[in-house]
Amino acid sequence: MKRGIFYILIGVIFGITMFKSEAASWFRIYEMFQFKAFHMYGIIGSALALGVIFVQFIKRGKIKSFSGEEIIIPPKQKSVPRYLIGGVLFGLGWALAGACPGPMFTLTGAGYWPILVVIGGAVAGTYIYGLLRSKLPH
């Protein structure tokens, strides 16, 4: 129960951050892909710079999790086509809908109901991927 509250709380902070940073704004995504503002690059860049430091700190310091277990970041399967093709398809959708999965949930809370259509599409896309998975190059 206590753990559940921890995740909800992190989710709340994440949702607030996505909305207040305007990373959940379709306009910001459009502007980013036009290279007309530093804003989105600043968000992703600073998250990444600090993220690299955190991960190195965990790995080199052999930091244990809160419950005392080893922290494992599973290595992604080696491949090029799956990341490149999947990535391009994702990017096409990200720019069209102006939202990636995190912000989709944030925008639902903010009351922009048409985002539910986007989420419906994303669930359908996930399902169709599951059906076609064995036929796609990975």
């Binding site: 949702g15 490149l84 994702f90």
Partner: protein
């Protein structure tokens, strides 16, 4: 505390995202929002017809709680923590978007032309939203992650596959905005 009502600058938001990832790692979890879309399919019974969806979704309970929190966070940010939610994008972009028919550019959080409730009566717009979502869902699972899983988690761990995926994300975004938008809008 006045700043909290204003849009947050990148140097606050970016580090917040990194801290969220760190807290999840410290809890033994890996930050990745699109995994929830697969969980939704599993809960809806997709595991009966396809083994990609056959897994114990309760192991993803923490991630579903994160989604619930993100929804609440969106509500709080929009109501309690904001007075004005219009997004001050670059002036050139405002003019460009207005010429394309997005009159709300510079004056709203999301373009009212595709995100107001009026679109529920506009099949073409609904189709575009559905298509956008479809590509995000399909692409994220094919690539094994989305912005949080690859651009933040994977790249923070300096994983090459995540870099390839992120290059793909940007290639796709650039194609959509610069080549396809002029045809669509």
């Amino acid at each position: 505390m006045e700043w909290i009502y204003e849009p947050w600058p990148w140097y606050v938001s970016g580090p917040m995202i990194a801290v969220i990832m760190l807290l999840l790692l410290m809890a033994g979890k890996n930050f990745g929002m699109s995994a929830n879309l697969r969980t939704f399919c599993t809960i809806a019974g997709a595991g009966k017809t396809n083994d990609f969806f056959r897994f114990d979704w309760k192991s993803q309970r923490w991630n579903l709680l994160l989604v619930a929190g993100a929804v609440m966070g969106g509500f709080l940010a929009n109501t309690v923590l904001s007075r004005d939610t219009k997004v001050n994008i670059n002036e050139d972009v405002v003019v460009e978007l207005q010429n394309m028919g997005f009159e709300s550019a510079g004056d709203a959080y999301l373009p009212t032309e595709i995100f107001s409730n009026d679109v529920f009566g506009q099949p073409i717009t609904l189709g575009l939203l559905l298509l956008g979502g479809f590509l995000v869902g399909f692409g994220a699972r094919y690539a094994g992650g989305c912005t949080s899983g690859h651009a933040i988690s994977g790249m923070s761990d300096l994983q090459l596959p995540s870099l390839i995926a992120v290059i793909g994300f940007f290639a796709g975004g650039l194609i959509m905005i610069n080549l396809l938008f002029p045809l669509i809008f």
